[in-house]
Symmetry: C2
Subunit: 444 residues, 2 copies
């Protein structure tokens, strides 16, 4: 077993330590990590963990660093373990509709490889062009399509894991079903690098839909758009995608040079897919049309892509306006209109601009706090974010739908889980990592 | 906190102890449990567990007793905790597409209650008319529809649990998404009553499909039918149901007085659903028709139900012939034809009749060992079953797709999980149940 500092991927170069000290949350612990290791093999991962386990070190695992909750933020005393070079797609099995990948594979690359076999990797977080499968697994990432296809956990069949003491285990299987033993695979997904280091995964692929159909609707207010989204659910329709943007998001998009003018103060985008896509989108239109006059159906894939691009443009457009803090609460779908109204009231009270986009199909809201460029995340910012979290909990929801707890939400976690469940979780963590090697101070 | 023997539902009556000593596996530990408690409230559950925890007792939790792996079998020294009287559907929320139920609710009753709102509870184990939601959760039960809609875990959002020491916790949430803390809900599903007693659940409901379409195909051999099922997957089609019966199953069904004659030596039943059902079933027919001349499409719901009834009649028909041992292996879908061939060879070698039915859509096989009436499960029977399990593992599969490990499969579990993963699981069990109160000797 080599000492990590002898590994070819090990470095203490200040410029690397600087790039590896934070993630897309912008959260910062002051100085960066002591060292960074770019693993080029699972043996490297084993060496780093076994060394930390035996010497009392701490390790922060990192993929592309696109996380929004500070899960990969690294401070002094820690070693960052960067897995982006473990990026091989080892197998695509069209007959079993699965892929075996290393943790550093970029999500969009896997999806593209699957597409060559008429398949797709369903989870599509906004960061899919950069984020890695390992990072998606760490946070149980979601995305636009999870309204119909579920989150990352629903697509992971098995994992290759290095435990905190350097032992390797495999969890799960290549079959769709299986109940032999406890579901360690599911437990590791979403555990934010605190129970083991996921170095590889067997993931489920699904048939690429034969057809998609798209509907765009514009409303005078976000509450009306949220009501329309709830009406689609109430009509027992099941879109693959159902996305909402509020007036602040639309204004930010409109301010980007070359962008087209919005047709209202709120935007609802719905996509259906599969053999019944056209008939199902017509049923969606029948629900939405009585609620607004501005509805368009789009069956041309290129023009549909333009509508999707409007949705995807929102966060980059907001980032042009200042420092953003992207929140991630979820509520039961029927409470979406209330959540939207309450978030508007919080913005008014706090004086902080909050632009909200939402995955309406599963009640997942992303209220984005838009701060002055360079503003610190001071107490007033956190109080405002905390009011949003508390609202979500009061409506029967959760602090985080798909980004994770990381560093940012730990202080509210007990309110959601309760003391006994949180205590159990801390004991589970100790079973996996008795010496506290893995991502200490995060997730719980 | 009352002593359990003071609870109104507590009994040591020999006839009750006799009915509660085994489940549908027929497995038997000699004498039955010391006592049975019919819980009528969660407080009763708390009292039984707290008492066992403090006195060193052991508790076997039981629903309807339809389990096939011996998970609810109870022997001397144990108390059976029967939850069937906790049978209230506390809420159906059509707007959030969820239900809140007590553990003893019968699965079909929940589905029927959901149907009144245009919804359904998707998991449909063969026992759904008798089995309880709590039992389904304990084994992560599957069923015919899980080819498209997933197993029980995919429909459970949150749980109300009494821990081994009598503390109550809630896990999960009412939202579709959520990543705050580790996924205790997923860990408890399929844990066979060894991590906590599930007394209630928040489950997901899904829109009832607007249409279903059904195809029945008959083949000269099971291998040809399995190849047809694999061809459907390879064509990127995604049926809601894809079921196979072999010649032994068909012969058993034909032997039931009044049954119609089979049209071949293997039967494939496929159902599609949703807005595109008709078009998708036509695509299925285009794949299957070149492989056999005997294909019929059925859009009439009543005649389609008759075809489904053929499938559901198989196990009762086999039970008329002798003592059955229902196995439950799963393999990657592409390996289904190999698994079928190898199981046939095992039957020939052993001289034990093995009738096989399969959920082809997810590679889950139920090879049913048909023994003489009253025959003991002797070493030759277990060697034969063991050969089936080993075959599944060699093909990249699992010992159990949807029935659980229970008592029956413990001796093969290490072969599947490996020693390190099994050791971790045992440590997790100890965190939840340090004194070994819950279902000792089962599951791991």
């Amino acid at each position: 077993m080599p000492t990590p500092s002898l590994l070819p991927g090990w470095t203490t170069a200040p410029e690397v330590r600087a790039t590896h000290r934070t993630d897309r949350s912008g959260f910062d612990l002051g100085d960066g990590p002591d060292a960074v290791v770019f693993a080029v093999s699972v043996d490297d991962v084993v060496a780093v963990l076994a060394h930390a386990h035996s010497t009392g070190g701490s390790v922060v695992v990192r993929g592309a660093g696109t996380g929004l909750s500070g899960g990969a933020v690294a401070g002094p005393g820690s070693t960052v373990l960067d897995l982006t070079h473990l990026d091989r797609i080892r197998e695509i099995s069209p007959t079993d509709e699965l892929a075996v990948v290393e943790a550093g594979v970029v999500t969009a690359d896997l999806d593209a490889a699957a597409a060559r076999h008429g398949l797709r990797y369903a989870p599509d977080p906004a960061s899919l062009a950069w984020s890695t499968i390992g990072g998606n697994i760490a946070t149980n990432a979601g995305g636009l399509r999870c309204a119909k296809y579920g989150v990352t956990r629903d697509s992971v069949l098995g994992l290759d894991v290095v435990l905190a003491d350097g032992r390797r285990i495999s969890t799960g299987r290549r079959t769709v079903k299986g109940v032999a033993g406890y579901d360690l695979t599911g437990l590791l997904v979403g555990s934010e690098g605190t129970l083991g280091v996921v170095v590889g995964a067997t993931v489920r692929l699904r048939p690429a839909p034969v057809r998609t159909a798209t509907l765009a609707a514009w409303f005078d207010g976000f509450d009306a758009a949220a009501e329309a989204a709830a009406a689609i659910t109430a009509a027992r329709l099941q879109p693959a995608v159902a996305e909402l943007l509020d007036a602040s998001c639309l204004a930010a998009i409109a301010a980007v040079p070359g962008a087209t003018e919005p047709h209202g103060r709120a935007f609802l985008l719905v996509q259906t897919d599969g053999y019944g896509a056209d008939e199902e989108i017509a049923a969606v239109r029948d629900v939405v049309a009585p609620l607004t006059g501005r509805v368009e159906l789009e069956t041309d894939p290129h023009r549909a892509d333009t509508l999707l691009a409007t949705r995807r443009a929102a966060l980059p457009a907001l980032e042009r306006l200042g420092r953003v803090l992207v929140e991630d609460v979820a509520v039961p779908r029927s409470r979406l209109p209330e959540a939207v109204a309450e978030i508007g009231a919080i913005a008014d009270r706090s004086g902080i601009r909050i632009a909200t986009m939402a995955h309406a199909g599963d009640g997942n809201l992303h209220p984005v706090l838009v701060l002055e460029p360079g503003r610190d995340l001071d107490d007033h910012v956190w109080d405002t974010a905390g009011a949003v979290f508390t609202t979500a909990l009061q409506l029967g929801g959760t602090l985080t739908g798909e980004h994770g707890v990381g560093l940012l939400k730990r202080r509210w976690l007990r309110d959601e889980l309760g003391p006994d469940a949180l205590d159990l979780q801390q004991q589970l963590r100790t079973v996996f990592d008795p010496r506290g090697v893995l991502n200490p101070g995060k997730a719980l």
